[in-house]
Symmetry: C2
């Protein structure tokens, strides 16, 4: 992308914005946000914007942030932006890609089209796509770039647990786990997950010998933590000497971290896609490279 460009961000993502701006040679464009007592938002952008504007907004707890994106994208166009890129390291609403029962809102497609109506390009990390093959099917923007946290997490595991057995919590992660494992020649396996509801998940270990192994559970996203807890208990019962966790997206709702600790999980490592105490690797260099590769 031709410079100069500005990276718009809110205060709560300042650290992430600084890392990306430094890597990508962008100017920081802080935005002000005020919440009125009745819940309405007031946003203020820099008063003048260049043609190329990048917006940083990771979309955990997404609903209010989607309204922010509507307000700020429309305002950015009025202030001079002609090419708007959304950097959303965690992209929300990617799981519901069909109506599981008649009448359900297919939120992936609806939110994807909403974002495509606001932005010219979207960059994200490990979106939770199942039945669609590409991000562009879900978010039909001209340029949709998918990055992965798996290589960086695999590098970290190679340093911290050189002989790790990488275990994925469900079959959906099989290909992702295999690629991460291949990078350093890790043994790997995936569990079988049967989901009965948001907080009710049954895990079955795959066949294999876990005795004496240092296991690292690797997943794209951890929310309630219940899946990781179940997997960890089974692995420790099967003789694993340690169970650590590496995830791209550290959502960790409520008391999730406490549950992980109580289940005997040692370390929790994550990328900085969602700011969290467990952040151990930064996606900023990869995001900067993706920004450089966009054609405005």
């Amino acid at each position: 992308m031709s410079s100069p460009a500005v990276l718009l961000h809110f205060d709560d993502e300042l650290a992430s914005a600084q890392r990306i701006a430094a890597q990508a040679g962008l100017t920081l464009g802080p935005m002000a946000r005020h919440r009125f007592p009745d819940g309405e938002l007031k946003l203020r952008l820099p008063a003048a914007l260049p043609e190329h504007v990048v917006v940083l907004r990771t979309l955990d707890h997404p609903n209010e942030k989607l309204v922010e994106l509507l307000l700020l994208a429309r305002t950015a166009r009025e202030l001079g932006a002609r090419h708007l890129t959304l950097v959303s390291p965690y992209l929300a609403y990617m799981r519901q890609d069909i109506a599981f029962t008649p009448g359900e809102a297919v939120s992936q497609r609806i939110v994807g089209q909403f974002l495509a109506g606001l932005f010219d390009a979207v960059i994200t990390v490990d979106p939770h796509l199942h039945r669609v093959a590409t991000l562009q099917e879900a978010v039909p923007v001209p340029q949709a770039v998918v990055l992965s946290g798996a290589p960086l997490l695999a590098n970290l595991v190679a340093q911290q647990r050189p002989n790790a057995l990488l275990v994925g919590p469900d079959e959906e992660s099989a290909q992702w786990i295999a690629q991460a494992a291949a990078r350093h020649g890790f043994d790997h396996a995936v569990c079988r997950k049967v989901r009965h509801g948001d907080r009710s998940v049954t895990i079955e270990l795959p066949a294999g010998n876990f005795s004496g192994r240092a296991v690292v559970l690797l997943d794209d996203v951890a929310s309630s933590g219940h899946t990781l807890v179940q997997a960890a208990r089974l692995l420790l019962a099967a003789g694993a000497t340690s169970v650590d966790v590496a995830v791209t997206h550290a959502l960790f709702a409520g008391d999730a971290l406490q549950l992980l600790s109580e289940a005997g999980i040692g370390q929790v490592w994550s990328t900085d896609c969602i700011a969290h105490a467990s952040n151990a690797v930064s996606m900023a260099p990869a995001i900067a490279a993706a920004l450089a590769g966009l054609t405005p």
Copy 2:
């Protein structure tokens, strides 16, 4: 509007939906909503919809509800709806109609255009419009209907306080107060408001004799309650025998009702635009009449 039509609603507006459906001869169409631990919503509509669909959603604490409207309006179209009417007794984001400082998002216009992209008609009550003359300028749908709670509130005041002095908290309400007062020949006046911030407002009473009067403060919306508290204190200090409050929209954020009581305010009456313990009159008949007047 030609029947049959359905009124889509969520559980938290069931009572309001029942009143409107009964008056308008609509079938209730309950929608299911589930919030995942990570904040994402799952919505389910009735699996088949008629051509004409009415959506009830009052927009206090609006951000999550705007995302709901996006999801449900797009889904309703896929399920067969061809003409979508939004009944939003309280319409959010109507106050910021210009950029007060450079770079501010003009949320009235942006949210208005967002709603106009989802719905064919909008019905609301006493929207807080200042610098635009009509609702259709703010929400550019083919049919935009504005109702007022003032006549019903004035009727109620005539029953409860036959010799009331109606007082508006600021000059913006002058015309609205005058119309409500004319209905029953009430004396009326408006205060002068100087706003220093969300929770910092200075009120000056108009010239006049308040001694021995039963005053009713009449306004379109009450949020923090601080304006009403200041006005009530000045009026009681000026000799008013009682100060009651009648508002269309009972937002009453946080401890607002407690503050009103401590300031010596007696009764608080409101319309049912926002469900609240103070609701004393229902807009359902007026909304039903407006629905009957729409041309699909």
